[in-house]
């Protein structure tokens, strides 16, 4: 039996169900709406596993599920050398989100990473500590800023409501996902011109280590 991991809640789950339905594969929750077990119809030998979207990368890497639906951002963040352990089967065309770096809108002088780097040097000299960037995407943001040559910053872990970190004075800038930018703006922040770290969307991934015959499901959804 092959296992297909799908986000267990909300819009992402519903859109995943719709996407598979368009391709002749019916996914549904079985039993009570609160139970995290599901059914698969339209293709044989596949079982539905409902999981938190954040845990799907780990389960794919461990080979405990054969397929999984989750965002590009989570796979790239959580799996070092992700291309060695999973491969994208299909980009699903929803769940679009950009991982971006944003600074307070009142920083009129800061529009690029070059400015951010210059301000970080000055900030550290003035305050005695490194400019803080609140994020939960530590690996992606660090890799990006290292590649861009930004120095004198530190990452501050923020698992939610990250856009509020500057107003709360726990950070000077943020790195977070956004789809419309509305929350960024509402929190008096502005995205840097060259501050796009990663473009993400919901993607169907295949595990390299899980084994099994993945052909039937891949053929079914590719026939669409």
């Amino acid at each position: 039996m092959l296992k297909l991991g799908v986000p267990s809640k909300g819009r992402l789950m519903q859109e995943t169900f719709d996407w598979f339905a368009e391709r002749g594969v019916q996914l549904s929750k079985s039993g009570s709406d609160r139970e995290y077990v599901g059914q698969v119809e339209g293709v044989d030998g596949v079982e539905l596993v409902l999981l938190s979207a954040g845990e799907i990368p780990r389960e794919l890497a461990a080979g405990r599920i054969h397929f999984g639906v989750t965002g590009t951002d989570l796979v790239h963040e959580k799996l070092a050398h992700w291309a060695d352990v999973v491969e994208p089967v299909a980009e699903m065309g929803f769940g679009f989100a950009d991982l971006i770096i944003a600074v307070p809108a009142c920083w009129r002088d800061v529009t690029s990473l070059h400015d951010l780097d210059a301000v970080a040097a000055r900030f550290r000299a003035d305050h005695g500590f490194r400019l803080r960037i609140a994020t939960k995407y530590h690996r992606l943001v660090r890799q990006f800023l290292t590649a861009q040559g930004v120095a004198d910053y530190q990452l501050l872990d923020s698992q939610g409501a990250t856009e509020g970190a500057v107003k709360n004075e726990t950070a000077e800038a943020i790195a977070d996902i956004t789809s419309t930018g509305a929350t960024i703006e509402a929190n008096h922040l502005r995205i840097l011109e060259d501050g796009l770290v990663l473009k993400s969307q919901a993607t169907l991934w295949k595990s390299h280590s899980a084994g099994g015959d993945c052909g039937p499901l891949i053929r079914k959804i590719s026939a669409h």
Binding site: H81, P104, A105, C106, W107, R108, D109, V110, T111, H114, D117, A118, V119, A121, R122, F123, D126, H127, F129, R130, H138, R139, R142, Q143, L145, T146, A147, Q148, G149, A151, D152, Y153, Q154, L155, V166, K167, E169, E172, H188, R190
Partner: protein
């Protein structure tokens, strides 16, 4: 394992015979000092553990910081220290290197003539490693620092270049930016004042940007000379000649080149054959973030090996850790796992 222990003991004894005092350091180090010093990059390389009471701790990624801290606390100069033990760094699975590896080190805090101390440390490593048939490479970050100081540009631009010496890509992009007339900049629209950076801070930088907007580009001849400096590589005697010739185009490197000549003379006086020693002006600019002067490494021909030994001068690090008090410092480490393997390699062929 017993062979590794014997190799470690042999190296410690060699350093002690040169007057070094043995130091111990905790494996678990407070993360804040290391993070403040090395920045976020260290998180991508070092093991961080969270302690609910003491805060973040780090498995020591090197001995330099605890040794400097220890020295700054007692601070009787001159001082020579040696130490041995494991260090911990994440390794890319592709390299096949172990995350836990051994180091044996030698650090000198001495206010004598800098070239004499550099020649002592390099000479000692050279002598200990001589039987292994390794290739020695050297560099001197002081040359690039001196070249930056001599550019016809503002202090702010020089400071920006100096700050990115250890990030060659960013350094090159800054250099390219400063070699052009300043591009007009569209400012942000502004918004409600939030965060620790004050409106006055923003105003100050806006004033700087305005001043900067009329800054003339760094002359092309200077950029070219700086690029030529970074491209210099060869054996020590040839490299010195090239550098001496370059001083006519980059007069500010004169003292740094004279210092290098004095170091070669000191090595020569100690009876070392300097002819086969390599020199690269850009050596040590990517891997060795805290070295700010003479740098060196000893390499085996085997692909995928780290340097069997490496080291250099790190005066600026002592200033940071000494809270304003600085001491000239030169030191280095040998990786006994690799010096041992190199020894075996020599014996079998």
């Amino acid at each position: 394992m017993s062979q590794l222990r014997a190799e470690t003991a042999r190296l410690l004894a060699a350093f002690e015979a040169n007057g070094a005092v043995r130091l111990e350091a905790d494996i678990l180090q407070p993360a804040d000092v290391l993070l403040d010093l090395y920045g976020e990059d260290i998180r991508a390389r070092a093991y961080v553990a969270s302690d609910p009471l003491r805060g973040e701790q780090m498995l020591r990624p090197d001995f330099t910081v605890p040794v400097v801290q220890r020295h700054m606390a007692v601070s009787a100069e001159p001082a020579r220290y040696t130490y041995a033990g494991p260090v911990f760094r994440y390794q890319d699975s592709a390299t096949g290197r172990a995350a836990q590896s051994e180091q044996v080190g030698y650090e000198v805090f001495d206010r004598s003539a800098p070239e004499v101390i550099e020649a002592e440390v390099f000479g000692l490593f050279h002598q200990i490693l001589a039987p292994l048939g390794l290739t020695a490479s050297t560099g001197d970050v002081g040359l690039l620092r001196a070249a930056i100081d001599g550019l016809s540009t503002s202090d702010a631009r020089k400071a920006a270049l100096r700050r990115h010496i250890w990030r060659p890509l960013r350094f090159q992009s800054l250099l390219a930016r400063f070699s052009q007339p300043v591009a007009p900049k569209t400012l942000g629209a502004g918004g409600q004042q939030i965060g620790l950076r004050s409106a006055q801070d923003v105003q100050e930088r806006l004033a700087q940007l305005e001043e900067e907007a009329s800054a003339p580009p760094i002359p092309a001849a200077e950029i070219e000379a700086l690029t030529d400096l970074l491209a210099i590589r060869g054996k020590l005697p040839e490299a010195l000649k090239l550098l001496q010739a370059l001083t006519s185009r980059l007069p500010s490197i004169g003292p740094a080149v004279a210092h290098m000549a004095a170091r070669i003379k000191a090595l020569d006086a100690a009876g070392m054959d300097v002819a086969p020693i390599g020199f690269e002006a850009a050596y040590g600019l990517t891997a060795m973030e805290y070295y700010d002067g003479f740098v060196f490494g000893f390499y085996a021909a085997e692909p995928g090996w780290p340097a069997v030994a490496s080291g250099g001068r790190y005066d600026a690090l002592t200033r940071v850790l000494g809270q304003g008090r600085a001491v000239p410092a030169v030191g280095g480490i040998i990786r006994p796992e690799y010096s041992l393997r190199a020894t075996k390699g020599r014996l079998s062929c």
